[in-house]
């Protein structure tokens, strides 16, 4: 692994950013250490748990497996870009109301995966929700309330016409 620093430019949550980092540094570490976006979590560091899920040019990826060089010029979306406080994204609000977040450690990745699922498939049935979230492990909830939250986000977005916030 080369320790020489490279200039990497990308868009994070809609904002242009530039960092000087070793090209093989994990996107996860660049987000957390260099950009101080600690919403994205590390659960396993080997692509199993999905706690580190972000969108890379709209695709759901495990940021622990992505060398930052691969993200040069890309658009990255993290949980911090979904929405906040008064402007919660529909999935954030639904997770809050349904009890989809307990310890909250899987939650950022789970939310990014849920928002991604709803973008690809605005009306997923339960089987599609289970499949869409099967790369994101949750040890606390037993998943029932996460499924319910995604279903509620579907009905709230269809009732409101569109989801609030970004994502």
């Amino acid at each position: 692994m080369s320790d020489r620093l490279h200039a990497i430019r990308f868009t994070v949550n809609g904002e242009g950013r530039a960092v000087q980092v070793p090209p093989m540094k994990r996107l996860l570490d660049v987000l957390r250490e260099d950009l101080h976006l600690t919403g994205t979590k590390e659960g396993c560091g080997e692509g199993e748990c999905g706690a580190c899920s972000v969108l890379l040019n709209g695709d759901l990826v495990n940021s622990c497996l992505v060398p930052v060089a691969q993200a040069d010029g890309a658009a990255i979306d993290t949980v911090e870009g979904l929405g906040a406080d008064e402007r919660l994204h529909a999935v954030q609000r639904a997770f809050l109301e349904c009890g989809g977040a307990q310890c909250g450690m899987c939650t950022p990745g789970m939310l990014v995966a849920s928002a991604h699922l709803l973008r690809k498939n605005p009306r997923p049935d339960l089987a599609a929700i289970r499949e869409g979230l099967n790369g994101n492990l949750c040890r606390c909830t037993g998943y029932m309330r996460i499924f319910e939250a995604v279903e509620r986000a579907v009905s709230s977005t269809s009732a409101n016409g569109a989801s609030e916030g970004r994502g």
């Binding site: 396993c44 199993e48 993290t78 919660l88 109301e97 939650t107 099967n134 994101n136 037993g142």
Partner: protein
């Protein structure tokens, strides 16, 4: 139902918005100025003498802070029950992964190389790795006989009872270790200066456990040690004792370097080095009459406690008390032992010994039923404990309980009888997919065992901020179960103000009183009650001060509280634990009121077993329980569902492979927990019978759901295949050995 407006309602999780916005700060999200990163050099062997430590080539060692046992200012021990667990191995190692040397450096990414370059040489000694090897005492690796603790619990005349039996049924059962697999690994940050003392921030359950341990380790005065819990990403018991270890390690590095030090384990280290659920072996011998009355039993329990005694004595105690299940035994004898092995110490895990012994009794009850020609639900019904009867410890059940009704509800919600008949007919066909349905009924004691709550002598408080906002001050911590939310609900309801107006004080030992550890399903029932009393005190003070009149609004309350603080400097009320009346416990004979209250449940699992692949799928799950008053239906439901999913993992997925004491599958790629596609629909039902001495009628809830799934699922597999498996974790390869090698046959009764 009572008329409360906040308690019993699905109030939103207090820290929920921070969590869904990704703003909640966990230990690895925090950085202090000039902070170093710490790492641990661990034993590569199971047992032996340390001969030397060599700091190998290619590492700028002079840039590293290096700590060994000789740097420990106080006692080299993690203080729990006994004094046998070293913070750092000095001369001997007793298990793989035992910590020996600590390293710290500014560059986090340099540490793995340095750990690899620090080589410890050993004189290797023989070791024991299983209950059986430890039992034989070849060699003795702990104390006189490898036994950490043993209990003998006896009720009635067991020896005379056998003569009256129509049938005697025996069975051996076993359970494996289980990894907590909280999604956030263990981590801690420590900072030290001679003036300020030591502060440790950590992902942890029990701030005062860490406090006690670090006072002994550092020799600092109690007020010079401060422990702060930060947002904790799941625990399940796994952050009950181990944070004292990792907190101690960070503290030693910080004290030596004078800089803040963070230690954050990665997944592989967390899985290999931290505690797991105790493996068990349970033997049953049961006497019954022809008409299905239990006469008596002899039960032998053995737990593998790992290399140091840690919490094994209390885990064994709970296993012992729960061994008879929710049944009336005229006579019973339970002998139990926790053995030392040269595996990393086993520790607390949701259920704390009860899942092990309840797995055994609930599998065994199905074998007894079969031997008698009775349906599994019928045998249980004929023996359920009733109000006024006594438990295995001789405790009279004074609560109003109705296990028959719980069973009825579980059978109805699951369609048990209709499905059982239908599956039997379908399974007679030649299809390779066999369906089955099974149940388990069980109990879980709320709070510390016996005199435990009295010894803890917990203190809770409430105060108000200068803005007049009431705060709950407890050492009970939030790690997903909902502590913050339910305690604020209780406080708000009692104060008669809006839920949003109440906040939690910081979980910081320099601010909050010692409310005891956040374990043993005690937070809602025991701590909730203390918060309730403190809130009553706060309200009384304001009402008698004349600043507040009955019929007040939230705004008026806050204004009055603000004025009171301005006038008097502070407004605070405290409440100390008082045992409910009639709670007596004899620690020597293990007789009396083991728990102030019990939660009760009947769970039903429906499975499909594929004879071609030997795979098992859980298709549907019904969980009916009585946990007293439900304080928050969303959080309570989530506790049950999460516990059931962990129980499914325990039964069918999660096998800890120990090789010479070392966890061989310490990765999420080869230690498999249930995913979103693995869990069945989990239907949760509560029967609510308020408990007179819990906050608004609440009893314990957190651990209960881990007790039932494993036996219910294995009973369902027996229904599907005719084979009664007696050990978990039950993987497809284990099914293959039984199902492929011989035709499925109903097993012999005896």
């Amino acid at each position: 139902m009572p008329q409360e407006k906040i308690v019993g309602q699905p109030m939103l999780r207090k820290e929920g918005v921070a969590k869904v916005c990704g703003r909640a700060q966990y230990i690895d999200d925090l950085t202090l100025p000039e902070m170093l990163y710490g790492a641990t050099v661990r034993s590569s062997i199971a047992r032996g003498r340390i001969l030397g430590i060599e700091f190998g080539e290619g590492i700028p060692w002079d840039e590293f802070v290096i700590v060994t046992a000789t740097d420990i200012p106080g006692d080299n021990e993690i203080a729990l029950i006994n004094h046998d667990w070293p913070c750092l191995a000095a001369e001997f190692v007793n298990h793989p992964e035992e910590p020996i040397v600590l390293l710290a450096h500014r560059d986090r990414h340099l540490l793995p190389k340095a750990v690899a370059a620090a080589r410890v040489s050993y004189e290797e000694w023989p070791a024991v790795f299983t209950i059986e090897e430890s039992e034989r005492g070849e060699p003795v690796v702990w104390g006189e006989d490898n036994v950490f603790k043993s209990f003998l619990m006896e009720k009635g005349d067991v020896d005379a009872m056998w003569a009256g039996a129509d049938l005697i049924v025996e069975g051996d059962y076993a359970t494996g270790a289980q990894e907590h697999l909280y999604i956030e690994n263990n981590g801690a940050i420590a900072a030290f200066s001679p003036e300020e003392g030591l502060t440790v921030w950590g992902s942890l359950q029990c701030p005062f456990y860490v406090h006690k341990s670090l006072v002994k380790l550092t020799g600092l005065a109690e007020e010079k040690v401060r422990i702060v819990q930060v947002e904790t990403g799941g625990a399940f018991g796994g952050k009950e004792d181990y944070p004292s270890m990792i907190g101690a390690h960070a503290a030693l590095l910080a004290m030596k370097s004078g800089k803040p030090v963070k230690i954050a384990y990665d997944r592989a280290e967390d899985m290999a080095a931290t505690t797991k659920r105790h493996p068990s072996r349970v033997r049953h011998r049961t006497a019954v009459t022809r008409d299905g009355k239990l006469l008596g039993a002899e039960i032998e329990i053995a737990l593998d406690g790992g290399a140091y005694s840690t919490l094994s004595a209390t885990v064994l105690s709970r296993a012992t008390i729960h061994a008879g299940g929710p049944y009336f035994w005229p006579s019973i004898r339970v002998r139990s032992k926790a053995f030392a092995t040269n595996c990393p110490p086993h520790g607390a895990f949701r259920g704390f010994g009860a899942p092990q012994s309840l797995f055994a009794i609930e599998r065994h009850m199905d074998h007894v039923a079969e031997a008698l020609g009775l349906a599994p639900d019928e045998l249980r019904r004929r023996n359920f404990l009733k109000t006024g009867q006594t438990t295995t410890t001789g405790q009279e059940i004074k609560e109003n309980i109705d296990l028959d009704a719980l069973m009825g509800r579980a059978l109805k919600e699951s369609g048990y009888h209709a499905k059982r008949g239908r599956f039997a007919r379908q399974n007679a066909g030649s299809g390779m997919k066999k369906k089955g349905i099974g149940l388990a009924s069980f109990l879980h004691g709320s709070g510390f065992t016996g005199s435990g709550e009295r010894y803890l002598n917990s203190l809770a408080a409430m105060d108000v901020t200068t803005e007049g906002k009431p705060r709950v001050l407890v050492s009970s911590t939030e790690f997903g179960q909902g502590t913050n939310t339910i305690l604020c609900q209780i406080a708000a309801e009692t104060l008669g103000i809006d839920y949003e107006a109440v906040e939690m004080g910081p979980p910081d030992t320099s601010v909050v009183p010692n409310t005891g550890p956040t374990v043993a399903s005690r937070t809602s029932m025991v701590v909730g009650k203390l918060v309730h009393s403190a809130a009553v005190g706060l309200k009384q003070t304001l009402l008698t001060s004349g600043l507040l009149q009955e019929g007040y609004t939230t705004g008026e309350f806050v204004a009055a509280a603000r004025t009171y603080v301005a006038q008097h400097g502070a407004l605070r009320a405290e409440s100390r634990y008082q045992a409910p009346p009639g709670v007596h416990w004899d620690d020597q004979r293990y007789r009396g009121e083991a728990y102030a209250a019990y939660a009760w449940a009947v769970y039903v699992a429906e499975v499909t077993v594929d004879l071609a692949t030997c795979g098992v799928e859980v298709d549907d799950f019904v969980a009916v329980q009585e946990v007293g008053r439900v304080l928050n239906p969303v959080l309570a439901g989530g506790q049950i569902e999460g516990g059931v999913a962990q129980g499914i993992g325990y039964a069918l997925y999660e096998k800890v492979v120990l090789q010479n004491g070392h966890m061989a599958n310490n990765q999420m790629t080869n230690y498999i927990m249930p995913t979103a596609e693995d869990v069945p629909p989990i239907h949760v039902f509560f029967e609510e019978i308020p408990f007179g001495y819990g906050a608004f009628g609440a009893k314990g809830i957190g651990e209960l759901p881990h007790d039932g799934p494993a036996p219910a699922i294995l009973n369902a597999i027996r229904d599907a295949t005719g084979v009664g498996f007696r050990a978990i974790t039950l993987l497809p390869e284990d099914l293959f050995v039984e199902l492929a090698v011989r035709e499925p046959v109903a097993e012999a009764a005896l």
